[in-house]
Amino acid sequence: MIHQYKLNGYDIVLDVNSGSVHCVDDVAYDIIRFFCEGALSREETAARVMEKYNVTKADVEEVFDDIDQLQKDGKLFTEDIYEPRAFDLKNRHTEIKALCLHVAHTCNLSCDYCFASQGKFHGERALMSLETGKRALDFLVENSGDRVNLEVDFFGGEPLMNWDVVKGIVEYGRKIEKEAGKNFRFTLTTNGVGIDNDVIEFANREMHNVVLSLDGRREVHDRLRRTADGRGSYDIIVPKFRKLVEARGGKDYYMRGTFTHNNIDFTEDIFHMADLGFDQLSMEPVVCSPDDPYALTEEDLPEIEHQYEILAEDMLRREKEGHPITFYHYMIDLTGGPCIYKRISGCGSGTEYFAVTPWGDLYPCHQFVGEEKFRMGDIWKGVTNEPLRDDFKLCNVYAREECRECWARLYCSGGCAANAYHGTGSIKGIYEYGCQLFRKRIECAVMMKVAEIYGEENEDQ
């Protein structure tokens, strides 16, 4: 399978099954397109191309030869030979390696679009006890087999509303990890309201990553991210985020925003974060009911796609000028990225990744918490809903017909089961809107890689 597209002055050809990326000129682009369509012979293809461009038969034949060579080298028109392996990873590795700990089902903000329903996940307000948190880490270690790196995310609600327990869980983790031969990587996701010097010091020492929620411009952020009494939270949190990031000493963090129908010019919000001095940025499309007033619409799609292009081009400019920013979805590693098993085996929810409620119940991921039929067990008895785990085991690139026809499948690994469920009623459904945005982001990310390598050359010509 081939995907080809033109973006920012580059003609790009992706060979989906080998993962190869080719930067071509217009002549080769058209020839590859004719080959894909399969309607013309080589003679006819040559005639068409010679008619359109100022090239000789020898030029065209040279491209034919190059294509033949690439095909021989397994870099063009390669077949998908991976399907038999799709179930391997989840069957070979049934260990659990990541937990999302819902340490607080309560929040000190009342954001309109919160998928956690203002932190409560459609249930009662609750805080996780230290004992439950410790047991969750024991459960993870006991079920992690030979995995060394174990990820634990402190999530909510707002985890800083249960900060002492977070600290206690981390301290317990540090105590048990050496003896167990494990390495805990903790992440804290916070709205920032509760950040103080103690949080900054502890988080910057112990958290592998911190995810800081900021939607961008003050008016955008304050429209949906408000305190319980209706005040905006921008002025409360931005100074705290700056202080935390300045003291972080180069460790990973993400400023993580959500954009909605209200701000489909969301690149302005990303640039605003950059102007504030933040350089590791993430901005996600809102996940909500289509009936919500801020839900993204079909009409928004072309502009959102355009915004992704603006962002990519601007990031290239910033990089060239020596002050780059990173955008989570454009971080693509073409040489050291994931192996084919990872690419085809799905996100891992309900198999290697679970969310833990304040009461110790297990759910396939944080987005399923509160949906009773997705309760999979608890951290004392383990996974008891085996049929549900089997369903999640089957979630992979080949589980959905649409993915088989999609060029981006080895970049997304089959998409988000929660989005699929909420959009279609089935974890094996397709959330097409998300897919469209995903494909656009990958096109931009690959284009940036091409530009980083060939940009100078293009400018010289």
């Binding site: 391997d88 990873l89 990225g337 990872k342 690419r343 990744y353 997304c412």
Partner: protein
């Protein structure tokens, strides 16, 4: 090749042989939390 330039990428077919250790980060665990992608994941083995 004059008209086709190939960027160096990980050979996915070869990774059948040397991949699958499972030490890499869970896809959704870091910044996004509402979508899924593996393109931006690092291979722990390659590090």
């Amino acid at each position: 090749m004059k008209r086709i330039k190939t960027i160096e990428t990980r050979n996915l077919k070869d990774s059948i042989k040397n991949g699958g250790c499972g030490e890499c980060q869970t896809s959704c665990q870091s910044a996004c939390k509402t979508s899924c992608g593996v393109a931006n994941q690092k291979c722990e083995k390659a590090e």
